[in-house]
Symmetry: C2
Subunit: 205 residues, 2 copies
Amino acid sequence: MSTEKHGRQVGRGAKVRTAVLAATLAELADHGYAALTIDNIARRAGVHKTTIYRRWKDRESLVVDVLGEQIAVDIPMPDTGSVDTDLRDIARAFVAWVTSPAGQTIFAAIFSDAARIPGIVDARRQLFEEGPRRASSAISRAVQRGELPPDTDAEELIKTLIAPLYFRLAITTEPLDQAAADHAARVALAAARAGALSSTNTNPQ
Amino acid sequence: MSTEKHGRQVGRGAKVRTAVLAATLAELADHGYAALTIDNIARRAGVHKTTIYRRWKDRESLVVDVLGEQIAVDIPMPDTGSVDTDLRDIARAFVAWVTSPAGQTIFAAIFSDAARIPGIVDARRQLFEEGPRRASSAISRAVQRGELPPDTDAEELIKTLIAPLYFRLAITTEPLDQAAADHAARVALAAARAGALSSTNTNPQ
DNA sequence: ACCGTATGCAACTCTGAGTTGCGATAGCGT
DNA sequence: ACGCTATCGCAACTCAGAGTTGCATACGGT
């Protein structure tokens, strides 16, 4: 991926690349996208400014590259045999990732002005659509077990689960901890059991 | 409010101030905070750069001033006699405001790198805490009518109502329309009726 | 009509983006 | 171990935007 030309001279390049990406992420976490300077990144990476410009077209390309590598959110999908605990585990895993240093940095970056870079918006949407899609199997198992109404919309349920957690993260200063995750799971479950998350939500009441 | 010093020379000053604030908002909407230049604002306002610097300390002060004036979210609190319609109206009003040109600009600004300005974070939090607080009377009326469990947490209910809407706004590309508002109202109501939004949520199940 | 104040204007400094040419060096194959 | 070559360091640029200053001018209230 890196030096696709001849496969030569890989060692040095790889080291520089790693150092610059790490430095960029750190700078992004510390000062945000608007205050991101190439000189600072270069200094932090122990590399000269021109070296960065030789490997990346401009600031945007560098940021896209960094976030593209970091945006893998491997939340393991549980199968505990019960929706209650499945949903709870998903919510807890989301909270754990989002409050981790890496998660916090990614989030801050994704919701900074870096979001004006076309590639970033897509990555963000994809990030939040992958989870609900992957979780749908857990929901359909719950439906088969009779724990949820048969017409439950899996993606809608997961979004209902995540939304209040994300709301806390982005807006409120309330703590985002395990208790919050458990509470969100209870709320989403209650709504689903009441049939408010059916896929045919065109006919209200 | 504006020229508190002697009350003199108000006419010109007020016009300039208005023009600059409007231009700043427009530039913010068009290019975001990171790409906000004083020269562009000045040109757009038909004013010279130095004039702006004489009235505002720097770019940050200007942005704080603009957002401070615009951040009034007067969502009228309904009293229809039923929680169903009360919640639905609140959700619809929120959606209407958030999808209006003014609302969109404010939102974009509030979630740009402008959020690194200390004053903006406070304003944002306040913006989202005022709603739930104001809505609590509607909820307590519903509790008194017996429509909701007696220990329902009013603020939690409103947050549960808003969160999925906000999630759509910030993440998903799904449309944020009246149907979405109604759906959110139904979900929040179902959770509340199931007792998942009680203020004593320390004991689950 | 007058006076004071705010605005327009030009010319500055400073910082950071992005570029270029050249010399130094580190890693690869042999 | 040694040479070859791509990559890196360095210095010196251009360009744009933040923020400042001194002076001339136009506006608005009395």
